[in-house]
Symmetry: C2
Subunit: 271 residues, 2 copies
């Protein structure tokens, strides 16, 4: 499971305050927490007003790079901003995100073509379909994005397809459609990487952790490869590793028992 750490995002209230105050220590602590929790990429997103986003994202990237050891997931809704901050990023990582909206494909696929060590998150939205609710809509958009990428020589194994997770409070069928879409897309393109922003499912509902956890298990069973979420939550991490055993992806429970021995899951051991 490829985890993209979600905590360095100005949309998270405390992170937003830290970005506004240029509180470098707070941001660096978020880096360390997520690295310790074993994330594969660190999402870095300013989520500020458009007119100050470039400056804020530059500061954020520079701050994170002072301490981080894992690849960044450079995140902005504006492809122009991604192009501008791209040269600052020292190691190849992920671009978040491409979609069929506006001129994102035209601007960002050439960047991927010219930087073959980079990959991208591709949102299943935009085009004629707009926002994709049903499995069929998600798959249709995924296939279109994969085809557009191919026009630029970008192969599908470089795309993290974000199939969009909605809040279960208004869309009760969000998990069913998401899981069905995974199976549809994997059947045609087994090498794409399927991802999603896990905690969207519990938006506005109480006891969010239970919903996020149940969603993760269902999506992993359907073939999820990655998620954008929070594995500093030890219970979520334990569930992820437990699910791995049960779906047949951890022979002899080695990853699970090793994580336990290292103290990464289970009750926190006192010295």
């Amino acid at each position: 499971m490829i985890v993209i750490g979600e905590k360095i995002n100005g949309a998270v209230p405390k992170t937003g305050v830290a970005i506004a105050n240029r509180d470098a220590e707070y941001i660096k602590e978020l880096v360390r927490m997520q690295e310790t929790a074993g994330v594969s990429y660190l999402d870095v997103c300013a989520s500020t007003d458009a007119d100050i986003e470039y400056e804020a994202l530059c500061w954020l990237i520079d701050t994170v790079q002072e301490v981080n050891t894992i690849p960044l997931c450079v995140d902005s809704p504006d492809p122009e901003i991604i192009l501008k901050v791209f040269p600052r990023v020292k190691e190849p990582g992920l671009i978040n995100s491409i979609s069929l909206e506006g001129n994102k494909c035209e601007l960002l696929f050439p960047l991927l073509r010219d930087n073959p060590e980079w990959k991208a998150v591709a949102l299943c939205s935009g085009g004629d379909v707009g926002v994709s609710y049903t499995a069929e809509q998600k798959a249709e958009l995924a296939f279109k994005i994969i085809e557009r990428a191919a026009e630029y020589g970008v192969t599908e194994d470089r795309l993290f397809l974000d199939l969009l997770i909605f809040d279960a409070s208004t869309r009760n069928d969000t998990a069913i459609e998401f899981c069905k879409a995974i199976r549809m897309i994997k059947e045609r393109y087994p090498n794409t990487i399927i991802t999603g922003a896990l905690s969207n499912v519990s938006f506005t509902l109480p006891v969010k952790k239970a919903l996020n956890m149940a969603f993760l298990t269902l999506a992993m069973d359907a073939g999820l490869d990655s998620f954008i979420g929070d594995t500093t939550n030890r219970d979520l991490k334990a569930l992820m590793l437990a699910t791995n055993i049960l779906i047949g992806k951890d022979k002899h429970c080695r990853k699970y028992t090793n994580a336990y021995r290292k103290g990464e899951i289970g009750p926190i051991k006192k010295d």
Copy 2:
């Protein structure tokens, strides 16, 4: 989801001590805890040596019946003991368990035939197959038990089929085979009730809760109707209700939000 409360079982070390000491207050507290947690049946099992089981089970049933308000699941590996204690039980409940082993069918199906308000847990073990590990073995035994029941006029909707859950540490494929078996059996007999002893999956492994929770979500997705387990664990209960939303069995999240409002899931509210 029909939950059979597992706590009143002499195989649970503390309960075993309470039974040995005839500690009625401890047993009554287990009744109250499980009723508050919303279980549908209370499993009552002495798990003592065979020569003292009848006396112990009589005491246990009498003690539980002094306070309980929900049906019992009368549990013994010995069908003769079940026949002997049966008249003490005041309200119709479940017999746990029938299987193709020995003369269980011959002794217990007539009891069900003559007591049409009672149902039974039927273990998928015994017969030519023995213990059922694969989905095919589980389904074969389930079909045989359903056919044997029919010979006594016991319809399949009165059978809780226990498909056997093994520990994932020695049988990594236990969840996969269990879930596959549910789908195979439901296809032929949609009215049977599928159950299993949830916590078996985590036997000998650390961080048992994570495994039990992931297993529950996967099995519910496959069509599980019931489990023998512990919903006094609030996290497990929240996950069960969350999974219900995600698999499309809680329209508008009403059961979930009601459970939250009543304080049954989520952080415990202080007065």
